[in-house]
Amino acid sequence: MSVPPVAEVAATDREYARKETDHGLNARRIGHVIMELKDITLRFGGVTAIRGVSFDIREGEIRAIIGPNGAGKSSMLNVINGFYHPQEGEVWFRGQRRGPLKPHEIAHQGIARTFQNIALFRGMSTLDNIMTGRLTKMRANMFWQALWSGRAEAEEIEHREKVERIIDFLEIQAIRKTPVGRLPYGLQKRVELGRALAAEPKLLLLDEPMAGMNVEEKQDMSRFILDVNDEFGTTIALIEHDMGVVMDLSDRVVVLDYGSKIGDGTPDEVRTNQAVIDAYLGVSHD
C-alpha cells in the first residue's frame, strides 16, 4: 500500500495535487463549463454592486468567491442562482442562456444554496427541515398528500429514504427528531447543508458556510464539503472569509473588490497575485 501524501511535504498546492495524482488519488474529474458569467453588471438604483465581471464554474469543481466586505460576493451568488437579474451581461447555465426567472423557476433549475444567516424552520425537526428540500421533487398533488395514500405515500417513503441517506452522510442521526431551534449553531449549519443537498442540486452555493464556527466545527464542515464534492460529484461555489479554508478547499478562486474582478485562478496563483495581496490580504511593506 502506498501512503497518501501529507500536506507538509508539498511546497505548493500544485505540487500537492501532482503528488496526489501520482498516487492514484484525486481521480476527481473537472468537467466542462457548467456556468458561465459574461460581463455581468448589476446595479441597485445608482449603486453599482458588480461591474463587468466574467468568470466560469466548471462541472465538479469547488469554486470560491472571496473579497473584502462589500465587494459584491453575496450579490454575485444571487446572480448565479437567478434571484437577481443583471442589467448587463449574460448568464449561461448548462449550455443555455438564462433570462429573468420567476421564483418557481429559480427553485426548479437545479441550484440549491445555504444562507449567510441560517434560514431554517426553527420549530420543525431536523428531519422535516431536510424533507422541505425535497419539495421540488414531489409530484403528488396536495389532495393525495393530505390523504397520504396511493402515489403520495410511495413518494414520501422514497423521499424519506433519500433524506435518511443525507442524515447518515452528515452524521446527524442523533438529532433527527430534535427541533432545529434547540440545536447549536454549528449543527444548524449542517442541517442547512443537508436541506440544500436534499434538492440534489447540479450546482450548490454556500454563502459563508463556516461563519461563526470554532476550529473543530470548521474542520468538520470542510470535511463535509469535500465529501459532498467527492461522493456526489456536486459542483460547489462558495463564499468564505477564512483564507485557510478557502485555500485548502477550492480548486479555483475568483477575487472581487468594489464590484470588479481583480484576480482569478488557482489558490497559489491568487496568493501570489499582487493586486489581490494589495486589495485583500493587505499591502506588504518590504
Binding site: M1, P4, L25, E164, Q173, A174, R176, E231
Partner: protein, 655 residues
C-alpha cells in the same frame, strides 16, 4: 468421554448449528437509514460464510491474525466468526485508540488482515503502516471518502463478500474442512487489556474458555433465545465479547447495534433489551440526566417524582430488612408503577430488562438502590479478561450492594491469608499472554490459579465476595493505619458533583485528594444559579464550587470515621484540578480507571503543594488533543482544608 457439546465447541460450528435449529430467529439487528434492519441466524451464517470465503481467496491462512476495528456493527461481529472459520485468530482493537496505540497492538499481535469500520480507522492504519511489516490487506465496511485511496491492498467489505460468493465452488470444501478441523482448545480470540500499568497485554482465550463460561453464566441467569441485548460497549472489551458473542451464540439470542454512539439512548428505548450490561459510570450518567430533567420539571411532576421515589426506597429498605409489605404499601407501589416507575423505566429503555448487570468499578449504594427500587433486576458481577469475565455474580435472590456475588458455577475461589488478594481457578482461565511468558507466569501459577490483583474477603453475612481495593494500591499511612485509595475515591465519586477523584496518602501523615468536577451536573447547577463560566477550568476554580466539594468531602469523612478499619483515610486537604483527567493524556485507562503512578509523576508539584501546607499553587499541565497535538493549560489552583472526624470507637470511649 463424550463431550456434551460436541459439534458446537467452536463459534463457527455453533453458528452452523444455530442456522440449522434457529434459522428464522433474529440474530443481528442494526439501525440503518432510520429503520431497524434484522438478519436471522440463517442469514448471518450465509453472510459470514461469504466473507470468510472472500478472506480466504485474498490469502488468509490458518493461524494468521485478523484485527477488527470499529464501533459495534453487525458486519464487524460477523467478521470475527469469518476469521475463525478460515482458521485465523480475530483480534478486536479499541476503535478510539490513537494510531500509536493501535500500531503497538497490531504489531504485537502480528496482524495480517484488518477489517475496519471506516475512513477514520483506515487513515490511522495508513499513518503507521510502515511499522506494520506483517499487515497485508485492509477491508473496510463503510466506503465513504475512500473511493480515491490506493486499492492495491484495500478492499470494500461488500466486494470481499461478493468475491467470496463467487469462490464458493473453488474454496467451499476447503472452508468446510477448516471449520471441521476447529477444536474447542483452539485460540478463539485475542483481547488486549487496556492495562492500568505499562503496555497492553494480549490475552489469549480459547473457544472452550469463552463458550464454557458463557454457557455456565447464561444458565445461571436462565437466558434463552427469546432474550435480546444492545451491543454498545467497545468490541475489544472482553465483556462485550462474552455478552454479544459468547452468550448470544450459545443461547441464540439477538444482538442489536446502535445507529451511532450518540443515539445509544434512543436506540436502547426502541429496542428495549431484556439483558443489559453497563458499567456504573453509565448508570450514573443516566441517573444524572434524570435528576437534571426532574429539577427542570414543573412542581407537580417534581412532587410526584419525589413522593413515589421515597416510597420505592422505603419499600426496598423494608424488603431488605425481611419485613413484609403492607397492603397500603403495595397499593402505593402500584400507583407509583403507573405514574413514575413505569414511565421512568421506559425513558431509560429498561422496561423489559430481566437481567441487568454492572461491574468494573464499585457502584454507589444509592445509585444501585435507585435502579433496584423501581423494579429493575440490577445485579453485580466480578470479572476479568483473564477469566473470560465471570468470576462471581449475584443470584436473583441475593443482591447486596456491598458485595459482588457467589462464584459462577465452575469457578473456585481462594483468598490469600497474608495479603488478602483474591485468586480463582475456572474453565474460563486464559491460556497465556501472547508473546509474554513472564507476565503469564506472574499471573497464573502451575496449578492454574490466577491472581486478580484485587484484595477482598468473603462477607460472613451474605457468603458473597466483597472487594476492598486493588491489592497493590492498598497501603499504609505513616501511623500504620490502612490506606485504601480506591475505596475512598469511590465514596467521593458517588456524589453527583464529583466525576473523578485521586487520593494520595501511602506513607504520608494523612490523605489528600485531587478532584475533577462533573461538568454536566455542576454546569447545570451553575446555570440555575446564574453563575457565568467560560469553561471547565473557570467553573472548577469557582469559590462556590469549592464550597460544595468541601461539603461533599466532609460528608465522606464523616462516613469513613464510622468504619474502624478505614477511619485513617479521611481527607485533610484537597484541590480541584483545572483539567479533566483524560485517557488521551494517559491519566486514565480506556475504561476510565485512574492510572495512579502516571498521575503522581505528572502532578508531582501539585502533590508537594498539598503536603507542603500552601493554600494555592500555580499549575501548568500538558494536554493531548484527539488528533495527537499537544497544548498546555495553566492557572492558579486553590487548596482547601477539610474538617475530619474522630474515629467512632474514640467517640464511644469518650461518651
Amino acid at each position: 468421554m463424550a463431550r456434551p457439546y460436541a459439534g458446537r465447541d467452536t463459534f463457527p460450528k455453533l453458528l452452523l448449528a444455530n442456522a440449522r435449529e434457529k434459522g428464522s430467529l433474529p440474530a443481528s439487528r442494526e439501525k440503518e437509514y432510520g429503520i431497524w434492519q434484522s438478519w436471522t441466524w440463517a442469514e448471518v451464517a450465509a453472510e459470514t460464510r461469504a466473507l470468510s470465503l472472500g478472506l480466504t481467496s485474498l490469502g488468509l491462512k490458518p493461524g494468521q491474525s485478523v484485527a477488527i476495528i470499529g464501533t459495534n456493527r453487525p458486519r464487524l461481529y460477523w467478521s470475527i466468526v469469518a476469521a475463525q472459520m478460515a482458521g485465523a485468530i480475530p483480534v478486536p482493537v479499541y476503535q478510539d485508540s490513537v494510531a500509536e496505540e493501535m500500531q503497538y497492538v497490531l504489531d504485537h499481535a502480528g496482524v495480517s488482515f484488518a477489517v475496519v469500520e471506516d475512513q477514520e480507522q483506515v487513515d490511522k492504519i495508513l499513518s503507521v503502516q510502515d511499522r506494520l511489516p506483517t499487515l497485508r490487506e485492509v477491508i473496510y465496511v463503510d466506503p465513504r471518502g475512500l473511493r480515491n485511496y490506493d486499492h492495491s491492498a484495500m478492499h470494500a467489505y461488500d466486494q470481499v463478500q461478493a468475491a467470496g460468493r463467487a469462490a464458493e465452488a473453488d474454496l467451499g470444501s476447503e472452508l468446510d474442512a477448516r471449520i471441521a478441523a476447529g477444536k474447542g482448545s483452539d485460540t478463539c480470540v485475542m483481547l488486549y487489556t487496556s492495562g492500568t500499568t505499562g503496555k497492553p497485554k494480549g490475552v489469549v482465550l480459547s473457544h472452550d474458555n469463552i463458550l464454557i463460561t458463557s454457557r455456565a453464566a447464561a444458565d445461571f441467569d436462565h437466558l434463552t433465545e427469546r432474550d435480546s441485548i444492545l451491543a454498545y460497549l467497545p468490541m475489544a472489551w472482553v465483556g462485550d465479547f462474552i455478552f454479544s458473542m459468547g452468550q448470544a451464540y450459545v443461547k441464540g439470542f439477538s444482538v442489536a447495534c446502535p445507529e451511532s454512539a450518540d443515539t445509544m439512548m434512543a436506540d436502547l428505548r426502541e429496542i428495549g433489551p431484556t439483558y443489559f450490561f453497563a458499567p456504573p459510570s453509565i448508570f450514573e450518567r443516566l441517573l444524572t440526566t434524570v435528576t437534571i430533567r426532574m429539577e427542570d420539571a414543573g412542581p407537580t411532576k417534581r412532587w410526584l417524582y419525589r413522593t413515589f421515589m421515597d416510597h420505592a426506597r422505603a419499600c426496598s429498605a423494608k424488603r431488605k430488612a425481611g419485613q413484609a409489605l403492607s397492603l397500603g404499601d403495595r397499593f402505593m407501589y402500584l400507583l407509583g408503577e403507573i405514574f413514575v416507575y413505569g414511565p421512568l423505566k421506559n425513558t431509560l429503555g429498561m422496561s423489559r430488562v430481566r437481567v441487568g448487570y454492572t461491574a468494573g468499578e464499585a457502584i454507589g449504594p444509592d445509585l444501585f438502590e435507585f435502579y433496584r427500587s423501581i423494579g429493575i433486576n440490577l445485579k453485580q458481577l466480578f470479572g476479568q479478561t483473564e477469566a473470560s469475565v465471570f468470576i462471581t455474580q449475584q443470584p436473583d435472590d441475593g443482591v447486596d450492594p456491598d458485595c459482588v456475588g457467589v462464584p459462577t458455577p465452575g469457578v473456585e475461589l481462594r483468598i490469600d491469608e497474608k495479603t488478602g488478594e483474591v485468586f480463582y481457578r475456572s474453565p474460563g482461565v486464559f491460556r497465556e499472554y501472547y508473546r509474554n511468558p513472564e507476565a503469564t507466569a506472574e499471573t497464573k501459577d502451575a496449578e492454574g490459579w490466577v491472581a486478580t490483583g484485587d484484595a477482598g474477603f468473603i462477607d460472613e453475612r451474605s457468603g458473597q465476595l466483597r472487594i476492598l481495593d486493588r491489592a497493590k494500591d492498598v497501603g499504609r499511612l505513616k501511623d500504620g493505619s490502612l490506606f485504601a485509595p480506591k475505596y475512598v475515591e469511590n465514596k467521593l465519586k458517588f456524589f453527583p458533583n464529583i466525576l473523578e477523584a485521586v487520593v494520595f496518602g501511602h506513607e504520608r501523615e494523612s490523605c489528600m485528594a485531587f478532584i475533577n468536577i462533573d461538568l454536566s451536573a455542576v454546569g447545570n447547577w451553575a446555570e440555575r444559579n446564574n453563575i457565568a463560566y467560560g469553561g471547565y477550568a473557570e467553573l472548577a476554580a469557582h469559590p462556590q464550587v469549592y464550597a460544595m466539594i468541601e461539603k461533599n468531602i466532609e460528608e465522606t469523612n464523616r462516613s469513613l470515621a464510622e468504619d474502624p478499619m478505614l477511619s485513617g483515610c479521611q481527607i485533610t486537604r484537597f484541590l480541584v484540578l483545572n483539567k479533566e483527567l483524560d485517557a488521551d493524556d494517559g491519566e486514565l485507562t480506556r475504561t476510565r480507571k485512574v492510572r495512579r503512578r502516571i498521575i503522581a509523576e505528572k502532578y508531582a508539584p501539585l502533590i508537594e503543594a498539598l503536603y507542603g501546607g500552601r493554600d494555592s499553587v500555580f499549575a501548568e499541565i500538558e494536554v493531548t488533543y484527539e488528533d495527537g497535538r499537544k497544548g498546555r493549560i495553566s492557572g492558579n489552583l486553590e487548596i482547601r482544608d477539610v474538617r475530619t472526624f474522630p474515629r467512632r470507637e474514640a467517640v464511644g470511649r469518650a461518651a
